[in-house]
């Protein structure tokens, strides 16, 4: 069994969680991602990817491929990949090349929220900087 396989095996024995794979040391990007997931109440499992595999691909494909692999490893079917330039959220049931969403590193917090919302079936949060949707809530009148 390869390292990746053993890791997948381990993940299966863990409590259900979104899997987050990233290059190098956890920094503020990872902190933001985890914060988004924690605020939504969905657990996350951090794993460092070997830079070797990731660096041989272009930046975004790195995040996408990592996210897809992470999604396969996640008992919840949701994975996040982070490379030097991008964050990607993926779902195990989607085609590998068609991730749920990708964003630059400044939008990590938003990605974390939406990875969690993917798990519990809530509509995604509006991407920061886009216009808000109408009617978050409303009080009845009489």
């Amino acid at each position: 069994m390869s390292v990746a396989d053993r890791r997948a095996e381990r993940a299966r024995r863990q409590p259900p969680a979104v899997v987050l794979r990233h290059l190098g040391e956890p920094g503020t990007v990872m902190r933001d991602l985890c914060a988004g997931l924690e605020e939504e109440g969905v657990p996350v499992l951090l794993e460092t990817s070997e830079p070797a595999t990731a660096e041989s691909r272009p930046a975004q494909a790195g995040a996408v491929a990592m996210a897809f692999a992470a999604a396969q490893a996640s008992t919840l079917g949701v994975g996040i990949g982070v490379d030097a330039a991008a964050v990607c959220v993926h779902h195990a049931k989607r085609p590998a090349a068609s991730p749920v969403l990708t964003a630059d590193l400044t939008q990590a917090r938003w990605c974390g929220h939406n990875a969690a919302r993917l798990v519990v079936g809530l509509p995604f949060k509006q991407r920061p900087g886009t216009t808000g949707e109408r009617m978050e809530e409303s009080w009845p009148h009489s």
């Binding site: 049931k93 749920v100 079936g121 809530l122 509509p123 009617m135 978050e136 809530e137 009080w139 009148h141």
Partner: protein, 635 residues
């Protein structure tokens, strides 16, 4: 086809009946032989221009050619084109918001962030996070955490204050950080987050923060006596705070700040008045009195001769616009005054400037509006009244139009009988119907009804309000600001995309897809329109959207169907009507005919969607009636 023609001999003449509707022009091709008309087919196209004007010609030419080619006939075989009277109908819609919610002194926060933190109730004086370190021990405080404070710092600051003996009982936070903060505290407290205008929360005031368990709603701050208990209010003060409690009913989280003059007011906005001029009396009614009062006033002055709205109001503007549009239409028509139609109310005179509003439908509705003074972007469902008004002439400038059609098609053009009579004749080609039969023609701008008694007498009525008003209500009640999406929601069932591979229909059934659904539809309510799934960009639940859709249909069509049938039924008694045939574009709707059938079921009426000529569904009744009338020869 050739065999059919030969069998009937050369005496068969080819005719096309054409019905110019407000929205749709319909044609029906038939061959008239010795044993009556043999229908060969039909066609339909959007009406070009305002009904009853020369602008209609291109649309008429188009449907005649389409109908002929569908029947495999050529234009030079055509003997006669029969056109309906095409009396212009102009209708208008307007909306007045009649309530307004205003929060003064930032008394409360009543929004529902998705992820508030903690659970329970905290009461204390509001203190800015930066000042927390200066708080003396012992005093209960509610901490207000502004923009830019990191959640770890917030949690550490609160914990430090608590360690010093400051009773931090709750927090109000700018960012979406409630759970992040609560998870880092030694003792959890209720935290309301995503308060966009947190800097406006009054400081140094007594405040209460309540967060309910997931799936539950606040119990204390939505209860006047709960607030009275927390802030030790007098009965008089409790009376003042009651509207705050009411506004918080149904929320999972809430904040109430006790300020000297804090209040939340449900103000009624004085809307314009509507003056309803009846044949015997004239009454005025404030639009803010609501739909029920307006419709009751309308019944009191009935029959209506005209209506005016206070100028400077939406209603005044709308009534004036309807009148102006009709005046303009009639100005193009030199022959306006020929042959007034005996079937129409005598008040529907159409001379020059003398255009009169013939009917009004008022409907209570609501519009989601930003609450003035709210700290977290709260919306309130404000009450509003929607109005539809209608002007209809007794007869349009038909001869000019007929002449132009004659020129364009190069055939004989005959202006046919009364529209209501034609509709009844066409409706009676629906299998299973007989007189007494009433038709309900559900169009875009007006709901028309006619009753044909066994003797042949036809009584008809034309009411304001139809499909376009339904679309407008859906648009405004859901706050879409997108009429085209509202039209889609009106016409099609809903679903919710629950995963990338399946959607749940509004009837609860599931549908699996082989290809992953687009990510932007994820967990969204979608409408299953002709071009596939279309996400609805709001956060309303499927049930809410469905309920708005059905109630809009009910408020317009069930109300108008009953109004119309009562007006045409002998003595207003629906039991005298044997059959009701529902016709028109809105009869194609997937639920309007059922709603109407259910409403009249108690009166022993057979009610269903028309099936003109056993094949056309609710379309083509007038065009078919024109042919049937022509085939029967001069009466």
């Amino acid at each position: 086809m050739t065999a059919g023609r030969t069998a009937r001999g050369d005496t068969a003449t080819l005719v096309v009946g054409v019905d110019i509707g407000n929205s749709t022009t319909e044609a029906c091709v038939a061959e008239l032989g010795v044993d009556g008309p043999r229908y060969l087919g039909g066609a339909l196209a959007p009406t070009s221009g305002v009904k009853g004007t020369a602008e209609n010609v291109p649309g008429v030419v188009k449907v005649v050619h389409e109908a002929l080619s569908a029947a495999g006939r050529s234009a030079d075989e055509l003997a006669t084109v029969l056109v309906n009277e095409a009396t212009p109908v102009i209708s208008g819609l307007a909306m007045e918001t009649i309530t307004e919610t205003i929060i003064t002194e930032s008394t409360m926060i009543g929004h529902n962030p998705d992820t508030p933190g903690g659970a329970g109730l905290g009461v204390g004086t509001t203190v800015a996070f930066a000042e927390l370190a200066d708080c003396p021990p012992g005093e209960p405080v509610v901490c207000v955490v502004g923009a830019g404070v990191d959640f770890e710092d917030a949690a550490a600051g609160i914990d430090a204050a608590v360690a010093r003996g400051v009773a931090v009982t709750g927090a109000v936070v700018r960012a979406d950080d409630a759970n992040l903060i609560v998870n880092r505290l030694s003792t959890p407290i209720p935290v309301v987050d995503e308060v966009t205008l947190v800097e406006k929360v009054p400081l140094g005031m007594p405040a209460a923060v309540e967060v309910a368990e997931p799936g539950r709603t606040v119990r204390t701050l939505s209860n006047s006596y709960g607030i009275a208990t927390l802030f030790e209010l007098t009965p008089e003060q409790t009376r003042m705070v009651a509207p705050v409690a009411r506004a918080l009913v149904g929320n999972r989280s809430a904040v109430v700040v006790r300020t000297p003059h804090g209040d939340i007011a449900d103000r009624r906005i004085p809307a314009g008045t509507l003056t309803l001029i009846g044949e015997h009396s004239t009454l005025s009614v404030g639009v803010d009195a609501g739909a029920e009062e307006i419709m009751a006033t309308l019944r009191r002055v009935a029959p209506l001769s005209d209506a005016t709205g206070e100028s400077g109001t939406h209603v005044g503007g709308m009534l004036a616009a309807v009148r102006d549009a009709m005046t303009e239409t009639l100005a193009d028509a030199p022959d306006t005054h020929d042959s007034p139609d005996a079937h129409d109310a005598p008040d529907a005179r159409t001379g020059g400037q003398d255009v009169r509003i013939q009917d009004i439908l008022a409907v209570d509705t609501f519009v989601p509006q930003h609450v003035t003074g709210a700290l977290a972007g709260e919306f309130a469902l404000e009450n509003a009244v929607a109005l539809a008004a209608m002007v209809r002439t007794s007869r349009g400038p038909m001869e000019a139009l007929a002449e132009q059609i004659r020129a364009a098609l190069g055939t004989d053009v005959v202006v046919g009988g009364v529209e209501a009579d034609m509709a009844v004749l066409g409706a009676l080609t629906t299998p299973g119907t007989e007189r007494p039969v009433a038709i309900l023609d559900l169009g875009g701008g007006s709901t028309d009804a006619a009753l044909a008694m066994p003797g042949g007498d036809v009584t008809s009525v034309h009411l304001a309000g139809a499909g376009d008003l339904v679309t407008k209500l859906i648009d405004s009640e859901l706050g879409l600001e997108n009429r085209e999406l509202a039209e889609d929601i009106k016409r099609h069932p809903l679903a919710k995309s629950e995963s990338f591979f399946h959607v749940r229909m509004e009837d609860g059934t599931a549908r699996f897809f082989d290809e992953p659904l687009p990510a932007d539809a994820f967990a969204r309510v979608v409408v299953l329109g002709e071009e596939g799934m279309r996400p609805i960009p709001t956060r309303h639940s499927l049930e809410k959207i469905r309920q708005v859709r059905r109630s809009a249909k009910h408020k317009v069509f069930v109300v108008n169907a009953v109004r119309a049938l009562e007006r045409v039924a002998p003595g207003g008694n629906l039991r005298e009507i044997g059959f009701v045939v529902v016709l028109g574009g809105s009869a194609l709707d997937f639920e309007i005919p059922d709603l109407i059938a259910e409403a009249v079921a108690g009166s022993g009426i057979v009610c269903g969607t028309g099936n003109v000529r056993g094949s056309q569904g609710p379309r083509n009744a007038v065009a078919t009636g024109l042919v049937a009338e022509h085939a029967a020869g001069p009466r």
